[in-house]
Symmetry: C2
Subunit: 429 residues, 2 copies
């Protein structure tokens, strides 16, 4: 049986899970792959904090891991984009395949790394970079191989989904739930990476790149986080038959390009994605042959993520064993272009805070009407706040650029007392 | 670029889809795999019915396809288990990898075919045999490779799911919906393969074999179809917070064995599986590292199924190109044993038709009590049928063998007017 040496760079939550699970599953992995793996060197920040790993395998200098001749596969789990880039580059330069869980790295330097991998004739594995334990990269790359991807809708940030689920089910405020999420370890002390949609944007960039064969960077992804969503919105959405989720949305328009965006979104409450609660992730993929599919599981955590890393390690070993020629990581030649957000057409949920006087609806409706934006539903709950009250409208599809103008005009009305809350809608039609 | 010749044996619904989609996707497939495919020979029953395929590629004798030297990969899509077995055997004997969508063949002859494939050092691909377009075989074999599978719960028959969804949502009777399903092409003229759970049992056998590494045949799977489910049951279940689905249930008990069963099942209405409606399939997999996952999509149809066949063809070509040594198809050495149905413990929904006289509940409850089976919920709707009325109970977990005795005694009561409807429950705990 072939044996391959693994070099682990980074041994935090995920790295620790990989160490533990790979050792626990040695036998199962060997019998299922025909290959044995041994983690021979591990790069860590502080060797004193890894008592479970034999001291002679621990190094503080990653170069001693990557360049060790007994390390044949490099697994980068350190996070960040500067040293991680150096590590990945060095490994590929040294002719070693790389397994990474680093979505930020891919969303920033994916193209450069893929090109380097191609030049070296090496594969790049990144199953764990998106949606933790869900094998979505394998599904897109292999399971749906012959499909052109029409769209992807993903709940790809567990923290946001936990917060929105609790706001919606328990009618609690964003701040209350966020505080709880931090206490429970579902949110970081600095919540911004999750709550502001940045993490989801990294993952959306990776998924879009994979689906459309050209590398999209995170800064090309339109992002809105969930701070602007109130429990009033989750309640009103529910009354109207919708559920609010932070979605990564990727969709191809045959002529104009690909849209890639991350924002809180109203989806029909009877859609499968709406039933994805708590910290779980789910990704709906619409392929032109297969039709609608959906993949669900834990998106984070030591175990779920290490399940994905182990799958990649197995793949890397089996590929090495047969010297399988990797499919180009830098694209499958279906180059495309991104659609700017201005061009994106969606339906919208708009919540206005308006004065409780007659004629308000008329004024607002006339403005939307003058931009040719129809109103498909209006709802005014009996929830006064002093002299103001909420007015909720569901608008017909409109281009982002057109809606912004209309919205600015509505905001400027004297009867409108606060900046409107605008949430986009998806009907999966 | 390497080129491989495909021989298609069988060209009905799925075969037609494969012919059409493989030709339409030639370019995409080549760019994503580095391999080109050409369907060089096609075995059909009647050459006159395949005008879209060049006449010189059509043959009525499958041997002319399998044994043609320009055919390097054999794709078996004829169905059935006698000729299909001959075809698959002949292809493997001739040293050619086989792609099959034939769950019945695998559920009957899986072990023999896998052993033959192993002997020949050949891979056997069967992504399309379970759940159509959902790449569940790849997920189990590769995506969750390091996981021990704790359980699988699958909605793996679209016809049954369509019928149960409509019964539940539209409060229609089984017969009405079945007639409609036939009209719409969701059910065959002879519905028994689907409605009696046989098709689902084939798929459950394949999934269980894959998950536990020993081949399980369809006749070892406990099967109940959905003919016994009435719209009264779907309504009562809904009132109690449950949804009825035909599930394939596969679960490992660490010491005693693996249970594999197919039957209508009450699941909590807030579970993701409950939101899987219509002809869609979904498979929930609980792995010991990854935790709970779920995979959803179309389980049948020319396109969805051919998406899976094409993924396998790509895999076969890429494996051939690098002469990748296949992982044994005949098991990953985790041999296990099956649990008999008698030993299976479940909660149960029991609907009795009882006389409308005092003391009935007491008599029934005493019997269950004497077998140590607790009653967790009782519900008696105001729906009289002459002198009788329905009495619904949710029972605490009990072993099948014990429950059967209790149930026989309850049925024998004078106040019980018809054979009880018994549906098992799953709580996913």
């Amino acid at each position: 049986m072939k044996q391959f040496g693994i070099g682990l760079v980074g041994c935090g939550t995920v790295g620790g899970g990989v160490w533990r699970n790979l050792n626990a599953k040695r036998e199962v992995i060997a019998s299922r792959t025909g290959v044995e793996f041994d983690i021979r060197r591990v790069a860590v920040r502080d060797v004193s904090r890894h008592g479970d790993i034999p001291a002679d395998r621990l190094f503080t200098n990653w170069r001693e891991v990557v360049h060790d001749s007994r390390v044949e596969i490099v697994v980068e789990l350190m996070g960040g984009t500067s040293t991680a880039l150096e590590v990945t580059r060095a490994a590929l330069e040294a002719g070693k395949p790389v397994v990474t869980a680093n979505k930020a790295l891919l969303a920033e330097h994916g193209q450069a790394l893929a090109t380097l991998a191609d030049t070296k004739g090496l594969p790049l594995y990144f199953e764990a970079s998106v949606a933790g334990g869900i094998p979505i990269i394998k599904v897109l790359r292999e399971g749906l191989r012959a499909n052109a991807i029409r769209s992807i809708h993903g709940i790809i940030n567990g923290t946001c989904n936990y917060i929105l689920t609790r706001m919606s089910e328990q009618k609690e405020s964003f701040d209350t739930v966020l505080a709880d999420a931090k206490r429970l370890g579902y949110a970081e002390a600095d919540e911004s990476l999750d709550v502001d949609g940045i993490d989801a944007a990294h993952k959306a960039a990776v998924l879009a790149s994979l689906a459309y064969g050209f590398w999209i960077t995170a800064d090309q992804v339109y992002v809105e986080g969930i701070r602007g969503v109130t429990d009033l919105d989750t309640r009103m959405a529910s009354k109207l038959g919708y559920t609010i989720k932070l979605l990564g949305i990727i969709r191809q328009h045959s002529c104009t390009g690909v849209e890639v965006r991350v924002h809180p979104t109203l989806i029909p409450s009877n859609h499968v994605l709406a039933s994805v609660g708590g910290v779980f992730n789910a990704i709906a993929v619409d392929g032109d042959i297969v039709g609608r599919t959906l993949f669900y599981g834990r998106g984070a955590g030591a175990d779920a993520t290490s399940s994905a890393v182990l799958s990649d390690i197995c793949e890397a070993g089996m590929d090495l064993a047969c010297k399988r020629r990797p499919v180009s990581a830098s694209g499958h030649n279906l180059y495309g272009k991104l659609l700017t957000m201005d061009e994106v057409v969606t339906r919208r949920y708009v919540r206005l805070t308006v004065l409780d006087t007659p004629g308000v609806l008329g004024q607002v409706a006339s403005i939307f009407g003058s931009y040719n934006i129809g109103i498909s539903s209006v709802f005014q709950p009996e929830e006064h706040e002093g002299e103001s009250l909420p007015l909720i409208m569901l608008l017909d599809p409109a281009k982002e650029s057109v809606f912004r103008q209309a919205s600015a005009q509505v905001s400027a009305l004297e009867v409108v007392k606060a900046a409107p809350t605008v949430l986009r809608m998806e009907d999966f039609s």
